[in-house]
């Protein structure tokens, strides 16, 4: 056990049980999985990506490259989870990754022996030939070898939410600068959100051995948190990662609501996606402690100096029985001293610098820490670190240590400043990139801005919090910043120990070594973006948070052009990996999109209807009866019943638009190709509207209810699009027209009754209205009441070609109307039908539908050219007159039937003249809609054929190579049933 006897922000009075690779361990509330593993002496936690080298815990935060585990099991299994950010909970189970057969003995660790062949560009160079090997041999091999964790293949049992939040000041990060900023903004009255990735506020203050306003830093954190929590204008958001900055001062965050418990509490989501709209944002995300490149710098036990100190002070854990620290900067020295102070036995502090600040030296002396100046670590030993070799000038010595803290300096965590295109700027004096231009409304405070001293952080946070609040309209009195001593921040830029031996890693997660950077340089991949792609440096879950700096510094040294000129790769969202589940939120499975049931849905369910999704709508497709062997048998029965007696269908899904005002007639004349201003009150007319490019947009019937009142129907699919188009025409093109539009699709249920007996049915429903052919002729409209006082609009329309009526009633009366229709139609054997029969009826009648109004056809193509009025202008008129639209060779709408009526047509087949090659050049058109016609007893189809109308009676090939069909068809009129239209007029 390496738990220190005292200290740490953990609750030692309570014990949590967890397992790692099946072995049971114990930890305390306040631990992360990483700190608990270290406390149990578990130092080997994973195998590296390429060489399968043993790896341990390297950091204490979200930049962790090594300690990736599979968390939980079964449906909740989550791969590649950073042990350093996982909050320990009772019953947690985790498994190591990328090893076989076990973490201790990994067969693929032989890869290390052939590492000279697995260097940069290995994949590009090796798996090249023969090409046929790629899919069957190479790719499966690479995928198996390049494992990392495996995702659960079971459905995620948890739920995820999305939410919006608005604030005046968003503070990102709760270290010294963040807390100071939040306090000063909140005290002014501004609405403040403080987002902290960790489950505990305080950031580096939880680790550092410093005083603020004369008290330990942890007391300052506690007081600040208590004050903020008590303010009504502040929302504290722990466990919340701000992962992206977007346009319009919008920040995307993931709140891990239930990741710290085994199973979410009832009605709690696992995670919540927040979109925070902030007038101002203060980035106070601190800095990462970056590694130094030297041989064997990846052994379990080697970690950042900050991690060593954090495990000691925040978690009460010694990363090993004893330790050493290797650094080039004052923060590294301070970390070594903080760890020592907390009880870690630090054998030596090795600094590449010849001289250290006297205050630090004095502290080291007081703590009894041996300081080696001008020293470098040149080698390490042990599957778990057992010793290091230190070179001082010409002298070398070996120190037996189990842990080594390394610090190559601070890398400001400026990821979010780059999301809208900001480019970091290099500062030689601190050997770090600091934010360049930042997103509008953002400012940076503290270490992220290169302000590494505690006093500087507190001052910058306080000032910027006040400034941000003032910008948002809250002028509070300027308050003094909390006081702290200036901490030493000196550094000597130092990236790599020049020594031979083991691999010296730049990027631990991707196994990119200093040698690989050299290969990339030698082979010309010198620009940082190329360096990244060629070596894979900076990829995967940590996105180079540790490695980028050293990698580009090494390249800068090789090219001799300097770090500033070399630049960094572009940081893009997300800052840390985001689960797809939380991006989807509730939009999954049946909630992927809304479901719109029709007003008669419950009734149709009771009738045993089979439903089909049409857009968001759920419509009855057909109504099977017991004993029917397939859908076709049901549909044939429904068609026959409708043609011979009476059928009924819910057509509420059509778009319905109410138009009122003195100029509606004029307006409709301009949007339809035909005239509507001349339509008589009490009549309906079929209309076609075009897009401005001359192609058909939609069709439907529009009825005139009164002089200044029309009601339009659109196709189901285009209801929204047409409404938007009409609003555009009114508001943008012709604002002078006095017309009001309302979508009434939801407000009216509409049911079509069709067939020779439909008038008999209707007569029983109306409250005395005359529905005779004389009183309500074809295309007539009646506004009346049905079923004893229910307001109704009756349209005598026919999509089937039969005598037919569409009865509209207020939506909530739809089911009642349907039941009344069924009752009234009982003596005639009234038959409910669905979209399948609707399709057969309209194809038999030769009516166009969505397959023909496919965005490629003009009114003339559809055989409706003569409908277009020549007395007026309308949308699409000018461009519909273009020569190509008038070309007599253009495919025209006609009908088709197989010459051998036993054969079945297939939509999508293309037409060829008999005896010609099946080439694109010989293509003469295509089949759009087909059906089996029970009325005719064979397959029929609609489609477009060059000069189709002139070719009635001619035989052509319907060629369908995709489904292997090639049959002879006869061109015919599209109206297979009742071509004169007599049945609908009786």
């Amino acid at each position: 056990m390496t738990r220190l006897s005292t200290g740490g922000l953990i609750d030692r009075s309570r014990t949590l049980s967890f397992t790692f690779d099946g072995v049971a361990y114990k930890g305390h509330p306040g631990d992360t999985l990483a700190s608990a593993l270290l406390a149990n002496g578990v130092r080997l936690v994973g195998r590296s990506f390429k060489y399968h080298r043993p790896r341990g815990i390297f950091t204490c935060g979200s930049e962790e490259p090594n300690a990736l585990v599979e968390l939980r099991a079964g449906a909740r299994k989550e791969p590649n989870t950073r042990a350093t950010t996982v909050e320990l909970f009772d019953g947690l189970s985790a498994q190591s990754q990328n090893r076989w057969p076990s973490l201790e003995h990994d067969a693929l660790s032989v890869n290390q022996l052939v590492s000279p062949f697995l260097g940069a560009g290995f994949y590009y160079k090796t798996f090249m030939w023969p090409a046929s090997f790629w899919e069957k041999v190479y790719e499966p091999f690479i995928r198996r070898a390049a494992g990392l964790g495996a995702a659960s293949e079971l459905p995620d049992p948890d739920t995820y939410e999305k939410a919006f939040a608005f604030c005046d000041v968003l503070v990102i990060g709760s270290g010294a600068a963040g807390l100071a900023a939040a306090l000063s903004a909140a005290r002014s009255g501004a609405r403040v959100i403080l987002a902290e990735e960790d489950f505990r506020f305080g950031g580096r203050l939880l680790t550092e051995d410093v005083a603020i306003d004369g008290a330990p830093a942890r007391d300052f954190v506690a007081h600040a948190e208590a004050e903020l929590a008590a303010l009504p204008n502040v929302r504290l958001m722990p466990r919340t990662t701000v992962f992206g900055a977007y346009d319009g001062s919008e920040y995307a965050c993931v709140e891990r609501v239930s990741d710290h418990v085994a199973v979410p509490a009832a009605f709690q989501p696992r995670q919540r996606l927040w979109r925070i709209i902030a007038k101002r944002a203060i980035l106070a995300t601190g800095a990462f402690d970056r590694p130094i490149v030297f041989p064997g710098n990846d052994r379990p036990g080697v970690m950042t100096a900050q991690a060593l100190a954090t495990y000691a002070r925040r978690f009460g854990v010694g990363a090993g029985a004893n330790a050493a620290v290797f650094t080039n900067n004052d923060a590294g020295v301070s970390a070594a001293l903080a760890a020592t102070h907390a009880g870690v036995k630090v054998e030596a502090l090795i600094d590449v610098r010849e001289a250290l600040p006297s205050a630090l030296l004095a502290k080291a002396k007081a703590l009894g820490v041996r300081v080696i100046t001008g020293g470098e670590v040149i080698a390490t030993k042990g599957k778990r670190l057992s010793s290091i070799t230190v070179r001082t000038g010409s002298r070398t010595e070996t120190l037996a240590v189990e842990a080594l803290g390394i610090s190559g300096g601070a890398t400001p965590n400026l990821n979010l400043t780059c999301h809208l295109g900001g480019k970091p700027v290099y500062r030689e004096d601190i050997a770090a990139f600091v934010p360049g231009s930042v997103p509008p409304g953002m400012s940076c405070a503290g270490a992220v801005a290169g302000q590494f001293s505690l006093a500087e952080c507190l001052k910058a946070g306080t000032e910027q919090g006040a400034t941000a609040a003032r910008d948002a309209g809250f002028a509070g009195a300027a308050l003094p910043a909390p006081k702290a001593e200036e901490t030493a921040t000196g550094i000597r830029a130092f990236w790599q120990v020049k020594a031979k031996g083991d691999l010296a890693f730049v990027d631990f997660q991707n196994d990119v070594s200093a040698k690989d950077v050299g290969i990339a340089h030698k082979e010309g991949f010198r620009a940082v973006e190329l360096l990244k792609r060629y070596t894979t440096m900076g990829m995967a879950t940590d996105q180079g948070k540790n490695s980028n700096m050293a990698g580009l510094a090494l390249m800068a040294e090789l090219t001799g052009q300097g770090i500033a000129a070399t630049g960094t790769t572009v940081f893009r969202p997300p800052y840390t990996p985001v689960a797809l589940g939380v991006l989807a939120g509730h939009h999954r499975e049946k909630d992927f999109r809304p479901t719109r049931p029709t007003p008669t849905h419950a009734w149709a369910e009771k009738q045993g209807a089979v439903f089909v999704e049409t857009g968001f709508w759920l419509r009855a497709a057909y109504f099977p009866k017991p004993g029917e062997k397939d859908w076709l048998e049901s549909v044939n029965r429904e068609v026959k019943a409708t043609r011979e007696s009476c059928g009924v269908i819910d057509v509420s899904t059509f778009g319905k638009i109410d138009l009122q005002g003195p100029d509606v007639g004029t307006f409709l004349d301009r949007v339809y190709i035909n005239m509507f201003s001349t339509l008589q009150v009490g009549k309906a007319r079929y209309g076609v509207m075009l897009r401005e490019d001359g192609l058909v947009m939609d069709d439907g019937t529009t009825a005139r209810l009164a002089d200044n009142h029309y009601v339009m129907t659109t196709t189901t699919a285009n209801a929204g699009k047409v409404f938007q188009h009409l609003e555009y025409c009114l508001q943008v093109l012709w604002p002078e027209l006095d017309v009001q539009l309302s979508s009434i699709s939801e407000q009216w249920a509409q049911i079509a009754v069709s067939g020779p007996r439909s008038r008999d049915v209707l007569a029983k429903l109306v409250d005395g209205a005359d529905v005779s052919n004389a009183a309500l002729p074809f295309m007539g409209v009646a506004q009346t009441t049905v079923l004893g006082g229910i307001e109704a609009r009756i349209f005598r329309l026919s999509f089937s070609g039969e005598l037919g009526y569409e009865i509209a009633v207020p939506a909530r009366q739809g089911e009642r109307l349907m039941e009344a229709i069924m009752e009234a139609g009982k003596p005639f054997g009234i038959t409910p039908y669905g979209t399948e029969t609707l399709g057969v009826l309209r194809i038999e009648k030769g009516h166009v539908s969505g397959s023909e109004l496919n965005g490629q056809t003009s009114a003339r193509d559809l055989g409706m050219g003569r409908m277009a009025s020549t007395k007026k202008d309308y949308i699409g008129r000018v461009l519909s007159q273009r020569p190509a639209f008038l070309d007599p060779e253009r495919p025209i709408f006609v009908g088709f039937k197989p010459v051998d009526t036993a054969q079945r047509l297939r939509a999508g087949a293309h037409f060829l003249k008999v005896g010609v090659e099946p080439t694109t050049h010989n293509d003469e058109g295509y089949l759009t809609s087909v059906a089996y016609s029970p009325t005719l007893g064979h397959s029929i189809g609609l489609g477009f054929l060059k000069r189709g109308l002139e070719r009635i009676g001619e035989q052509v090939r319907a060629y369908d190579p995709v489904r292997g069909s090639d049959i002879l068809v006869e061109v015919c009129s599209p109206a297979f049933v009742d071509p004169e239209g007599e049945k609908q007029r009786v």
């Binding site: 319009g248 943008v732 008129r877 000018v878």
Partner: protein, 92 residues
């Protein structure tokens, strides 16, 4: 991205449908060069860098067509107005 709708206030851009260039005017269909003018009106678009006036429709809101002036490089919204100006549409 947010669009400050003059009727509804600042709203998420997902509530709006985009149409495009608001500097175009539907040509006179009776003009002798109507065919060419409509071709240009329907198909030809500039792709300016910087401020651009464009139509957005507040589909999941007030259903007003808006003219939004947007910086195409930074997505900054520089101004929003109703496509059909009318004083009686904004509640006092």
């Amino acid at each position: 991205m947010r669009i400050p709708c003059p009727y509804c206030g600042s709203r998420d851009a997902h509530e709006f449908a985009y149409l495009g260039d608001a500097t175009l005017t539907r040509p006179d269909p009776a003009a002798p060069d109507a065919a060419e003018a409509f071709h240009a009106y329907t198909y030809l678009r500039e792709n300016p860098e910087g401020a651009h006036r464009e139509y957005w429709y507040h589909a999941n809101g007030c259903r007003r067509w808006l003219v939004v002036t947007r910086n195409t490089k930074t997505h900054e919204i520089l101004g929003v107005e109703f496509a059909r100006p009318s004083t009686d549409e904004v509640p006092a």
